[in-house]
């Protein structure tokens, strides 16, 4: 083959054992409660969809207001992990053949996770993502991620319960997230998603109240991008583990920045609110153009390039 003929670039990527046709996934908690919607997003160009974080039992979540904008692509939410529960949800996605679905799970003890994973035995699940980082619900999320012993137990037990790849999603909590990452790696995790929302709040000056019914929520979107990027850079510099970048992606440039920082794929959530489902095709198109211009044939060639001295 003539080396001057440029290869048509491919958007396919792999995150350790997980292979995807496209590198931009829907992040957990976004539009994620219906198989019909997953199908639509997949047709719109999402490489995979991550489900809402599921618990053993259905949860109603917090009362409204649960989400609002802080401007400039930033959102604060305290949906409170409302979800139909793993058993209901597993029933709903059973018909799925086509869409790469990553099932996000929250729980407090290893048994919670083992129970939930059992529910999905007959489902086509691309990977599990353990949410160790929700900043606004007691007893799960960050309260688990901030406890290294518990992380170790949960990851080990999940890895023992399934052959499906397992991802740990980390965020900025009260402990050092790099310690959570290390513990998860030691317990056999296949990949890391970084980061979740960051604990935050906003107050209305007229009524003099926090806007969220829960007072505190998680900040997502554009404002957290520079923080998420440094986490991806730090994790992938310090450990030999595939990383999925998440936080504030809303353009193809953002996605490429995360690849250069060391992410093998990205997730996005808030930007769907600003730009709707077309965002996946827009980002895919932009990445392809960039790859052509820079003469890359695969996403892999870009991953971590910003670390060159």
């Amino acid at each position: 083959m003539d080396s001057l003929i440029k290869v048509e670039p491919s958007l396919a990527t792999s995150i350790g054992p997980i292979n995807l046709d496209k590198p931009a996934m829907l992040a957990s908690g976004i539009l994620g409660i219906s198989l019909d919607v997953f199908n639509r997003l997949y047709r719109c160009g999402a490489g995979a969809v991550v489900t809402k974080s599921l618990s053993k039992e259905p949860w109603d979540g917090y009362p409204n207001p649960t989400i609002f904008s802080v401007g400039s692509g930033g959102w604060i939410n305290a949906v409170g992990l409302s979800n139909p529960g793993a058993p209901n949800f597993a029933g709903m996605i059973k018909p799925n053949k086509e869409v790469p679905i990553i099932v996000s799970l929250v729980g407090s003890v290893p048994e919670d996770f083992e129970f939930m994973i059992k529910q999905f035995e007959d489902c086509s699940v691309t990977a599990y993502e353990l949410n160790l980082s929700c900043p606004h619900v007691a007893k799960v999320g960050l309260e688990v991620g901030d406890d290294p012993e518990l992380v170790k137990k949960i990851v080990s037990s999940v890895k023992n319960s399934t052959k499906t790849p397992v991802i740990a999603k980390v965020g900025l909590g009260t402990a050092h997230y790099l310690d959570t990452v290390r513990t998860a790696i030691e317990a056999g995790i296949d990949a890391i998603t970084a980061i979740n929302t960051i604990r935050a709040m906003a107050i209305d000056v007229e009524t003099q109240r926090p806007i969220l019914s829960n007072k505190f929520g998680g900040l997502s979107g554009t404002p957290i991008k520079p923080i998420a990027q440094r986490c991806v850079f730090e994790i992938s510099s310090k450990y030999d583990i595939p990383v999925i970048g998440c936080g504030g992606v809303s353009t193809w440039e953002d996605a490429v920045e995360f690849f250069l920082a060391g992410a093998s794929a990205i997730q996005l959530g808030s930007a769907v609110g600003d730009r709707w489902v077309e965002i996946f095709d827009e980002i895919n198109g932009g990445i392809l153009e960039y790859m052509k211009r820079k003469n890359y044939s695969s996403i892999k060639e870009m991953v971590g390039l910003a670390k060159k001295p």
Partner: protein, 270 residues
Amino acid sequence: MQRNRDRPTIVTIERVIDETPTVRTLVYSDDVMPNVLPGQFAMVWVPGVNELPMSVMIAQEPGKAAFTVRKHGLASTGLFNIKVGDQIGIRGPYGNAFDVKHGKLLLVGGGTGLVPMMRMLTFVRSTDDVTVLIGAKSKDEVFFEDLANRLLEGNSHKVIVSTDDGSYGQKGHVTDILEGLVYETRFDGIYTCGPEAMMYKTVQAAHSRGIFVQASLERMMKCGVGICGSCCVGEDLVCRDGTVFDGKHLSNNKEFGHFRRSKAGILENY
């Protein structure tokens, strides 16, 4: 501070109108909400209570808009109890709007589903022939009949009220009357908002006869902007793809008229 559509802007209630014992209209001044399209809604924050989706009601005064709320559960009761001088937060407007055809129009509304219908009446042309069909359980619950007549003063029009118990207007379900109307008249457009069973039958009746029909759906809403997923109906997100959908589209949606989701997102029969 520049107004942010997706963060509550505080407005003060200036007038409260009792429409029925359980329905009130709350009037406020605002720059944005008086000018929304029929079918558009706001997310309304009742500080310390809850936030809920509300169609934007007309207020018949420049620079003013309103909400018409039926007292129901926690959130709507909180809003219902708001007094003159109290502050609420509003964000939006959200959603698409009715595609207002011209000629012979039929509007089918039940309860607070009449709100977008009233706004729509401000968009009809004087040459349009407009029939408004108002459904209610009983006499007590009828409202907006006079308003509809007033808004249509210059038009060839009819306002028909039906009550389930026959205590006012015609006796029976709106949908029974509807069957008669579409049999008699070839409408250029049918529009409906109200209880889903009513909308489902209206859409069926019209769509099966090839008449253009649109319905404005209601679902549990948290974000209003297409992030949280709580408002999905099949593959559609009511807040973002709707709230207004064509009959053609709806007739392919297997959840419309049959299922809705609970706060936890579990599919339930209507």
